[in-house]
């Protein structure tokens, strides 16, 4: 029996995927678990695996082509089996058969023997007739929705929720974009065309959507504090001297660790806003914004509050490398409870970061600079760093955020406080 190969959701937020490379060709024998193709998701390049043994047929998507999740891209058939004629390659007629269509096109199949080809069709999307109609009218692909009705059936409520956050749904007829050239930091050229249109890459699309669901709907407010990093710098120097070749502790590691520890004392900031409830996390998973070619991603350091500094440093390094080579697995960039964005290395004094929903807060870390500071009535040069916290006001109130920031500041100004 034939098995349809679909574009699968290889990341939790993936809505479409670009077929980077076919590992198997039309007519190749494939086995369950073998890699059929490499697919670029919104986050990384992932393997699409075979879910049946057989021969790969009807490869409908070319390398470089982008198709929505759920789209049929090939079929795996038994040796010698032919695929029933008249099978559409797309999902037209399966997405939202209207009642009228059901009448107009009675199945020509004999009553008691369902044709084999019909079995090859994947299970249709479960949706109420009303939902199908609304989806058809508004051009929403039902496959991209999570059904909240009985048995995961898509009902009107799901379409209304989807309509309320347009970024989360993508029309089934979304244009299939050709492979975009990797947008490199090209210097402006005075010759040639006055501008260049560069199609959005998968990751850029996701960034656009994710951020639009943040700064728009999430009521942000910002708190800034300046931290004296003198003692943190001394502690870091001492630790690194002692570590020698065994590793290095960076300021970023110290900030991640201090943030995680401060969150354990301020659970109110370690939370997710979830429409009808707030989820206060008892575990601390720190998202760490990493700049990658053409975008950013926030890999997660899990349970950062209980991990030693050196381990945080090692993990942060590994995750950043994986992020840059686009090999992060979904579990490595999901589930953070709070995030840290550090632009200190770019000589940014102070900035505000956009919250990564559903998290309720993020801190933006500036560079450490020497400044004249009055200490005990004397002006002294001190290394100072500015931290700006963005808070979701639906979860965190001013004083709540300030309390957390104060603890964080105390920990950084007196690193021994981390031992308390």
């Amino acid at each position: 029996m034939a098995t349809t190969v679909f574009m699968e959701a290889l990341s939790p937020t993936m809505e479409e995927g670009r077929l980077v490379k076919w590992h198997k060709r039309e007519g190749d024998a494939v086995q369950v678990g073998e890699t059929l193709a490499e697919v670029e998701t919104d986050k990384a390049i992932m393997d699409l695996q075979a879910r049946a043994d057989g021969i790969l047929r009807q490869v409908a998507v070319a390398e470089g082509q982008t198709v929505p999740v759920g789209k049929e891209i090939a079929v795996i058939v038994a040796p010698g089996e032919t695929v029933g004629a008249g099978r559409g390659t797309g999902d037209e007629g399966r997405v939202a058969p209207s009642p009228a269509a059901t009448v107009a096109a009675p199945s020509p199949a004999p009553r008691h023997s369902p044709p084999a080809a019909a079995a090859a069709d994947a299970a249709p999307v479960k949706a109420s007739p009303l939902a199908r109609r609304m989806a058809k009218e508004s051009g929403v692909d039902l496959k991209l929705l999570t059904g909240s009705g009985p048995g995961g059936r898509v009902v009107r409520r799901d379409l209304e929720t989807a309509a309320a956050r347009p970024a989360a749904t993508v029309s089934a007829s979304a244009p299939v974009a050709p492979v975009p050239p990797p947008p490199s930091p090209v210097p402006v050229s005075r010759t040639g065309a006055p501008y260049e249109d560069v199609p959005l890459t998968q990751i850029r699309k996701t960034i656009a959507k994710r951020l639009a669901t943040s700064l728009g709907p999430v009521p942000h407010f910002f708190l800034t504090t300046e931290v004296d990093m003198e003692r943190a710098a001394e502690a870091r120097d001492a630790l690194n001297r002692q570590l020698g070749d065994r590793g290095k502790v960076s300021f970023n590691d110290i900030i991640l660790k201090a943030t995680a520890l401060a969150l354990t004392k301020h659970r109110a900031c370690n939370a997710w806003f979830q429409e009808d409830h707030i989820r206060y996390w008892n575990e601390v998973h720190i998202g760490m914004a990493v700049a990658v070619e053409d975008g950013l991603i926030t890999p997660v350091i899990r349970n950062a509050d209980v991990k030693p500094l050196l381990e945080i440093g090692r993990e942060a390094g590994d995750l950043a490398d994986k992020a840059r080579s686009r090999r992060l697995q979904p579990h490595e960039y999901t589930g953070s409870t709070f995030s840290v964005s550090n632009l200190g290395m770019f000589d940014i004094d102070q900035f505000t970061a956009v919250i990564n929903p559903p998290e309720a807060g993020i801190i933006a870390v500036g560079s450490i600079v020497q400044k004249p500071v009055v200490v005990d009535a004397t002006v002294l040069p001190r290394r100072r760093m500015r931290i700006t916290m963005s808070c979701d006001h639906r979860v965190i109130d001013g004083a709540t955020g300030a309390g957390f920031l104060k603890t964080l500041k105390e920990m950084l100004e007196n690193p021994l406080a981390m031992l308390l």
């Binding site: 209207s98 009642p99 009228a100 059901t102 009448v103 109420s128 007739p129 009303l130 939902a131 109609r133 609304m134 009218e137 009705g149 009985p150 009902v155 009107r156």
Partner: protein
């Protein structure tokens, strides 16, 4: 601790006994506290005995019209006392049925009045009981009079349904105050048993919560058979005598006197929230007097739930049934499907019956919805002509764009049975097209449902 249960339920009416059965099915040790007979108002002094009496009324009317069908039954004699005795037997059977279900499901029934104590404890008399998981309050409601105008229920000349159900004979005349479901049904019953009935409703039309077309149809039907219908009529004063009551009624600016041997109060119900320890246990009431509950039907005291009439309107047994199931499942750690309160059918079992679900046309107008109405009268239905039950219609209001069934209203002898096709349709989000596509057997009165759906699409066949 012999008096420990997982769940203790106060009240053995529809909401309570169903919660008990479902909780027991899910393996919870369950106790049900009831001071009277199991089954509550519904089984003993509500839904069930009135349906028995309404059927007696129906037979009386049928026999009076039988000649036309070729049957001579002679002079039809009615005896309310006999009908009442039969209705009592039906109630007792049903109450025994609930008793049997409790035994079958190993629910411990405690006789007495349960009083909540802090900490999921319940006192019944001098015995203490403790719930490990939850206490469910399902104490229901009772009839209430209008003492502010002198219409306090005295159980002789001013009565409620509680007394009407036990009368040995039909009174010569009766004023029914309130033309909701209860008033409509008793007006129907007593009229069939020879009582001169005056139906008084303070709101502008009888069955004020139903679609205006349903109210109109019933007004016509009642007037035609000789029931006096006064809508938009306010009782301003009542003179309660020993065997007569004189009411001053003001309708449309005009004053009139209504005299009757008996006044039946059918104007609203009061919930049973007194003397069951709610306050002491921290269970708050809302500003309308119902127990305050969240979307999971939990009260302001964690672990204490309220279901049925005490938890708020609509005060209908089937709404209580569902709440009982949902709370029991929640307590057992399941995740039940949330209740769609906008999809609770409402039925009045007078003749012709009135059944509805969803919005009325007036509500659609108020909400500025873009809708289309489809209608089909039973006078155009073959089966209805055959049985002579041609009164009434099916009316379906659909959303103009998507065909969603916004509301459905049926007036007709089998309305209470026909409405469920539309309840299923709405629950599953079928549009009028799916309703019409389902093949309806011919000849049936159900065909009118499909035809009304078709009519909303502008293509009714038999009209």
């Amino acid at each position: 601790m012999p008096n420990q249960f997982d769940v203790i339920i106060l009240g053995g009416g529809p909401a309570g006994y169903v919660a008990a059965i479902r909780a027991a099915q899910l393996g919870l040790a369950t106790a049900l506290v009831e001071k009277e007979k199991l089954g509550g108002v519904c089984v003993n002094i509500g839904c069930i005995p009135t349906k028995a009496l309404l059927h007696s009324a129906y037979i009386a009317r049928l026999l009076r019209e039988a000649k036309e069908f070729g049957i001579e039954a002679g002079a039809v004699k009615t005896d309310y006392g006999v009908a009442m005795q039969r209705s009592r037997r039906v109630s007792d059977q049903n109450s025994k049925g609930v008793e049997f279900l409790m035994k079958k499901n190993k629910v411990t029934v405690v006789k007495g009045t349960g009083v909540l104590q802090p900490g999921k404890k319940v006192k019944v008399g001098s015995d203490s009981y403790e719930a490990r998981k939850a206490v469910i309050v399902a104490t229901g409601s009772r009839v209430k009079g209008l003492p502010q105008i002198g219409l306090e229920i005295n159980k002789t000349t001013v009565i409620s349904s509680d007394e009407a159900l036990f009368l040995e004979q039909a009174p010569a005349s009766m004023a029914v105050v309130g033309a909701g479901a209860v008033g409509m049904e008793f007006a129907d019953i007593f009229h069939a048993f020879g009582t001169k009935v005056t139906l008084i409703e303070v709101l502008p039309r009888i069955l004020p919560l139903e679609d205006a077309e349903a109210s109109d149809a019933l007004t016509k039907s009642y007037k035609k058979r000789g029931i006096e219908v006064l809508a938009g009529a306010k009782v301003t004063k009542a003179n309660v005598g020993k065997d007569r009551v004189a009411l001053d009624v003001e309708a449309n600016g005009a004053k009139q006197k209504v005299e009757a041997a008996v006044v039946l109060m059918a104007a609203g119900r009061a919930v049973n929230t007194e003397n069951i320890g709610l306050k002491e246990a921290g269970v708050q009431l809302n500003d309308r007097g119902f127990i305050k509950v969240d979307q999971n039907l939990q009260t302001t005291t964690p672990g204490v739930y309220a279901i049925g009439d005490v938890a708020g309107p609509p005060m209908l047994a089937h709404k209580g049934f569902r709440e009982g199931v949902v709370v029991a499942e929640q307590v057992a750690g399941r995740r039940p499907h949330p209740i769609k309160y906008d999809n609770v059918p409402s039925v009045t079992y007078c003749h012709p019956e009135v059944a509805s679900i969803g919005l009325t046309e007036d509500q659609c107008k108020e909400r500025k919805l873009d809708y289309v109405v489809g209608r089909f009268p039973f006078s155009a239905n073959g089966r209805a002509r055959g049985t002579g039950e041609t009164e009434g219609f099916v009316k379906i209001i659909r959303d103009k764009k998507y065909g969603e069934i916004l509301g459905a209203h049926i007036v007709g002898s089998p309305a209470s049975e026909l409405i469920h096709e539309l309840a299923v349709a709405r629950e599953n989000e079928y549009t009028v097209e799916e309703v019409e596509l389902a093949i309806h057997a011919h000849p049936t009165m159900s065909e009118a449902v499909a035809e009304a759906a078709l009519d909303s699409l502008g293509r009714a066949i038999h009209m």
